[in-house]
């Protein structure tokens, strides 16, 4: 396996100085890529060719490959200066934001071009729940900011506490989203009811998937947080992503729930 050493010695000492050519390798990008290939094939088997068995088979290949790839990559790269980077995260967030922009523009375009809105089949959306969700998510943005602040001051115990509180709040938010979804679906408002339900579930779902990614980043950092050797750069970067997820929620809640 190619655990051997990506940038084991990060500084000046590179293969070059060892007298023989040594080329860095990592098997994980390859594994993840082909895992994604099987994922795409599984989708086609399930939804295009209606062959459930082949789909399960492909999923059985894809999911372990992707999970092993991410785990292997994380353990290989963490703490070697090749983890998350603040500058790179900024560019990545630009791309992420554009996904939301296209969903919102698609929604606006559709809504403003239609004579009758909301389309038939739309039900009254709850008003209180999204407010509570907003409070929880904004609160978690504040707690992670506070945690970072404590880390900067060197208060590791306080940092650990508020880091955990943030994770819990993120999880609570996610739980509330799931409750809300199932509640609406029970009332017969599903993703295929009409164009508004399509927009509602895809935009809230897209945002929810970003909450999941944000939580995954926090969980990836959890072992080092508990050990007490978390990198401040990692924290800043993970925090930036979380704030982004929070800011996007304002658009979701204002455009989808209250407009």
């Amino acid at each position: 396996m190619a655990h051997d050493a990506h940038h084991d010695h990060h500084g000046d000492a590179h293969g070059y100085d060892h007298g023989h050519a040594h080329w860095d390798t990592s098997i994980w990008p390859f594994v993840i890529s082909f895992g994604i290939l099987f994922l795409a094939v599984a989708f086609s088997y399930q939804f295009v060719y209606h062959n459930g068995f082949a789909a399960i088979l492909c999923l059985g290949l894809a999911v372990p490959m992707i999970i092993a790839g991410i785990a292997g990559w994380t353990s290989e790269a963490m703490g070697k200066g090749e983890g998350l980077s603040y500058g790179a995260m900024g560019w990545f967030i630009l791309a992420e934001a554009m996904i939301f922009v296209s969903f919102f523009v698609g929604y606006w375009y559709t809504r403003l071009h239609t004579e009758v809105w909301p389309p038939a089949g739309t039900i009254e959306l709850p008003r209180l729940m999204p407010m509570v969700m907003t409070a929880v998510l904004v609160g978690s943005s504040l707690t992670i900011h506070y945690a970072e602040h404590l880390l900067h001051l060197g208060n590791k115990g306080g940092f650990r506490l508020w880091y955990l509180v943030t994770i819990v709040m993120g999880a609570v938010f996610l739980g509330m989203s799931i409750y809300e979804w199932s509640h609406l679906m029970h009332q017969g408002f599903t993703i295929s009811t009409n164009s508004f339900s399509t927009v509602f579930f895809s935009i809230t779902g897209l945002h929810g998937s970003h909450v999941v990614v944000g939580l995954a980043i926090f969980l990836a950092g959890l072992p080092s947080v508990i050990r007490g050797d978390i990198d401040e750069g990692f924290m800043r970067t993970a925090g930036l992503y979380w704030h982004f997820v929070d800011v996007i929620w304002f658009f979701v809640v204002s455009q989808v729930y209250y407009w």
Binding site: A2, F47, M98, T110, N194, S202
Partner: protein, 523 residues
């Protein structure tokens, strides 16, 4: 040679070479599709297939693979990977593993695109995938969506990687005004990718969701809107033209400066006016693809103006090229011939594009061969010439060996002649009314001889491209040993040995105050 060190490599140069091999393979496949289409059209009625659906599959594969599998990966994959770290004096990119992920995602995308030939109900939605057809067809639209999504994701992570690399890893002394034009152009292309690829990704995801998961984004019966897709799609796909144009013109700048041993004419005007102007305007011209789709007039007129305006920065970049030739000591090497070929083809393609900015004219020639001819001149062939010229230009650096000049030049001239036969005639029959995308032209028998000439031209240009690829393969196997800096260029990538070792330089380079990548010593 250690195969494991190639397949699992994270080194930017090897990742680059993997990109090159994959994209040239994709070029071969997509090129064969084009030749099949030309063969089919060489006579009235069925020629080599009697099934129009087969023709649609060729059309889909040709378009999707040429753009997403060949041009974008060759330019932002091979050239960016190989040249950018070397040009800025870095030993690798900021995230080598992410780089490896993007090249393998690219391969996965090309594999998915090529599954088209083996699948029952292959995708038949062209490279545009317009609903409602893409939702109603029995073809496998999911494959199309996944291909685009995976290649798009590969470009996004590549973009993040290179923007971070250039921001933080430049050699000491290498200020922004000393970046190679190619680096500027490619960075701009990556910024465009980051902004616009997610929009395309969203659009193609939505058609598959509509088709397979029961959503109603584009279903008017449930309150959806079909035109949303066309807007989202072209909001990406017009800037995609600049994602291809910018790096390829950057490659041409590198070739023309090195082979005429001259400073870039008006460097700052090219960078800030040309590259900057294109980035600024690229997001507000997409409606010119939708003039006949039923747009509000204020939108059509507004975007007609922005479309005409964008020819100003593009013009600045062309002036920069021609000015660089002035008083240069021009050597007509193979890469230089390709670069000059780009200038010529781009001139024709650009001038035939200006009328297409005008809604009044476009309504007449929309969906005719005129558009196809214009597009192939301005982007398809000009871009491909730049890629071929660039591969020749950096061939000594990549392989440490020399290609054969005679076969290189012969390949160039064959391609150049073939291209002008095929696509000039294409524009001509287009103006006379030949519609595009037709499997047969029973209603237009008067164009049969023109179609035959186009097929002859396509065969000639096919031979020319094949000669070039063979020339590289032969050169890489048993070419003469090349000098480290055969073109005498001060640009940093030529300051290391050929091929560069892992880490690129024994000690990281730094540059002095009076160094410039185009500061050629005058003989």
């Amino acid at each position: 040679m250690n195969l494991k060190e190639w397949i699992f490599t994270t080194d930017h140069k090897r990742v680059g070479v993997l990109y090159l091999i994959g994209s040239i393979a994709a070029f071969g496949i997509a090129g064969i599709m084009a030749l099949l289409m030309r063969a089919e059209l060489s006579t009235l009625g069925p020629t080599i297939t009697s099934n129009p659906a087969t023709y649609n599959v060729w059309l889909y594969t040709h378009g999707a693979v040429m753009i997403l599998g060949f041009q974008i990966p060759a330019l932002t994959g091979f050239f960016a990977n190989y040249c950018i770290p070397l040009m800025i004096g870095a030993k690798d990119v900021a995230f080598p593993r992410v780089n490896a992920l993007s090249v393998w995602l690219f391969y996965v995308g090309v594999i998915l695109a090529c599954l088209t030939f083996f699948l029952p109900d292959p995708p038949d939605v062209m490279w545009t995938g317009y609903p409602p057809y893409s939702i109603m067809t029995t073809g496998n639209t999911a494959m199309y969506s996944f291909t685009v999504l995976i290649l798009g994701f590969a470009s996004i992570i590549g973009g993040v990687n290179f923007l971070t690399t250039v921001a933080y890893m430049r050699a000491p002394g290498l200020t922004l005004n000393k970046l190679n034009i190619f680096v500027w152009c490619t960075l701009a292309a990556f910024v465009l990718q980051l902004i616009f690829v997610p929009v395309l990704g969203t659009a193609v995801t939505l058609i598959s969701m509509d088709k397979y998961l029961g959503t109603h984004f584009f279903d008017p019966a449930a309150g959806g809107d079909v035109l949303t897709y066309q807007n989202l799609f072209w909001f990406y796909s017009h800037p995609a033209v600049y994602v291809i144009f910018l790096p390829f013109i950057g490659v041409v700048y590198e070739i023309i400066t090195a082979h005429s041993k001259n400073m870039v004419f008006n460097y700052k005007m090219v960078v800030y006016g040309g590259v900057g102007g294109i980035v600024a305007l690229s997001g507000v011209v997409w409606v010119h693809h939708l003039y006949v789709s039923g747009m509000a007039d204020w939108l059509r007129i507004g975007q007609m103006i922005t479309t005409l305006m964008i020819s100003i920065p593009v013009g600045l970049m062309m002036i920069g090229l021609i000015g660089t030739l002035y008083k240069g000591s021009i050597a007509f090497t193979t890469p230089m011939l390709y670069a000059l070929g780009v200038v010529f083809l781009f001139l024709i393609g650009g001038l035939t594009g200006v009328p297409l900015a005008l809604p009044s004219l476009t309504i007449g020639v929309s969906d005719t061969y005129y558009v196809v001819g214009h597009f192939h001149y301005v982007m398809a062939v000009a871009g491909t010439f730049a890629i071929f010229g660039g591969v020749y230009h950096w061939f000594p650096k990549v392989t440490g060996k020399m290609y054969n000049e005679f076969w290189g030049k012969l390949g160039f001239w064959l391609t150049f002649i073939g291209v002008n036969i095929t696509f000039w005639i294409m524009m001509d029959v287009g103006v006379k009314g030949m519609p595009r995308r037709y499997y047969d032209y029973a209603h237009f028998p008067q164009f049969e001889s023109a179609h035959q000439w186009m097929t002859v031209g396509a065969a000639i240009l096919g031979v020319g491209f094949a000669l070039a690829v063979l020339n590289w393969i032969m050169g890489a196997i048993n070419g003469k040993k090349a000098l480290d800096n055969p073109w005498g260029s001060p640009s940093l990538e030529w300051s290391t040995v050929s091929p560069p070792p892992h880490g690129n330089w024994p000690t990281p380079p730094s540059v002095s105050e009076d160094w410039h990548p185009y500061g050629f010593k005058k003989d």
